[in-house]
Symmetry: C2
Subunit: 275 residues, 2 copies
């Protein structure tokens, strides 16, 4: 019996995203929970999700979850802001932890003027999921949201530092509303966005709290596993296995941008339609 | 026997694209060959193709072709610059007409200084397909190419007129090379790009021939069907049926941008993985 529990505890955490953005969450988990094994799936063959319909997003997410279930994981994390915004419509919502709740909790803790901004993909913002979650935790907060359909594309294509005029112009356009409304806290509601947090910080004038949804989700996972007595008991560093539905030639560099190191050799391509 | 030939002639033309950009080709065919029936498939559930791997692009294109074959079409057109760049690697390349050959023929006819520019998705430019085709037709031409990974995203998200500073900045960045090299002809190697041809024209100074791959492909189809004695003999206007793998709420507006009219009511969603 004791052995069984130990086996359960030492199972990997399953994480999925529409692509490689979710690796920013893996990076945060690696730093906070270094002994946990991780199985990651990135749906690079069908990315992005944020410009697709609700029905398609849900159908893709269900397949991703089925894949992770087949890998015998102890919990499933949607590191995708878009999927997290539609979590209640999944086949088994009770099995999946998203990025919204943790990010909203962090934002409400930090705000002083109760003006909270949210950025995300079109599908995320349209779902109203962040606004609903924030209003539930803190009814007096004023939520200002902005869909940023270009940001993930820019980041994926390497437009990530402030020397890029296109990136600066785009961030300036998307941040106008938040500057006008004087938000003091901004949720980066897509796991791609932490990559350009310095640029966003500069454009906002350096005094706005930026909520990294990957980091907040990592904190939430730690708390959750601790409460359930399900933290890994391994002493060695966690083993990571990465799966994707497509692999570009520059996969090493792209993954490195989000995760900080090369995962080319521990990444397999799978046919997600089989799940 | 005569009836059989007539039936063959009156079969629809099959057209596919990674999404809705190929509708710019449908628009051109409608104007040039108004009596032809058309079956269109847009892979909106997996769009874009231009940022995916060669293997994935080919596998998706083969499914799209199988779908059109199941619809009993008389010819299959890839209205997708990315797929057209990989046509020789398809299961049945002999069945598919792409946009590259017609565009290159038109460019070579128009150029005076033999400096021809090409813009396309990352996968298109990386394949070298336009450069190879141009060099084959006209070995003395100097080909300057530029991948424009952001343009299709911008257009899909409605950044299409010159009042958009982000669009202007992006087009300016991508056009630098062509201005410096003084190209006199530029192939718009992605069926999205004709939507912003006025912006491109302005940035280039108004004196560069812009090749619309959809229009050139429509001309090629007319010539091809005429030569094969396969033009439709119908007197009525062609019947159009549209199929997509995902349908966003704003499908009407998006399709209208490329095609010029609303096709909401004659568009069905299919599961392309069944083909």
């Amino acid at each position: 019996m004791e052995n069984n529990l130990k086996n359960e505890k030492n199972k990997p955490i399953g994480i999925f995203d529409s692509g490689l953005g979710g690796l920013t969450a893996v990076k945060a988990i690696k730093s906070l929970l270094p002994h946990e094994d991780i199985i990651y799936f990135g749906d690079t063959g069908r990315t992005p999700y944020g410009t697709k319909s609700e029905k398609t997003i849900i159908s893709y997410a269900n397949q991703n979850i089925n894949f992770l279930k087949s890998k015998n994981v102890k919990m499933i994390v949607s590191a995708c802001g878009t999927v997290s915004s539609h979590i209640n419509k999944l086949d088994n919502p009770e099995l999946v932890t998203g990025v919204i709740e943790p990010s909203c909790q962090a934002a409400v803790k930090l705000t002083k003027n109760y003006k909270i901004g949210v950025i995300g993909t079109s599908a995320t913002i349209k779902s109203g999921a962040y606004t609903n979650a924030l209003n539930k935790i803190c009814p007096r907060a004023k939520i200002i949201s902005q869909d940023c359909p270009l940001l993930a594309s820019l980041i994926e294509n390497g437009f990530i530092d402030k020397s890029s005029e296109i990136l600066l112009k785009t961030v300036n356009t998307y941040m106008k509303k938040f500057i006008k409304e004087k938000v003091d806290t901004l949720i980066l509601g897509c796991t791609h966005y932490p990559i350009i947090k310095d640029v966003i910080n500069d454009v906002l004038g350096g005094h706005v709290n930026l909520i990294n949804s990957g980091e907040e989700t990592a904190k939430f996972i730690k708390k959750y596993l601790k409460e359930k007595n399900m933290l890994s008991e391994k002493n060695s560093l966690g083993i990571y296995n990465f799966f994707v539905s497509d692999k570009l030639n520059d996969f090493s560099e792209r993954a490195k941008m989000f995760l900080g190191y090369d995962i080319q050799n521990c990444t397999q391509i799978i046919n997600i339609n089989e799940y």
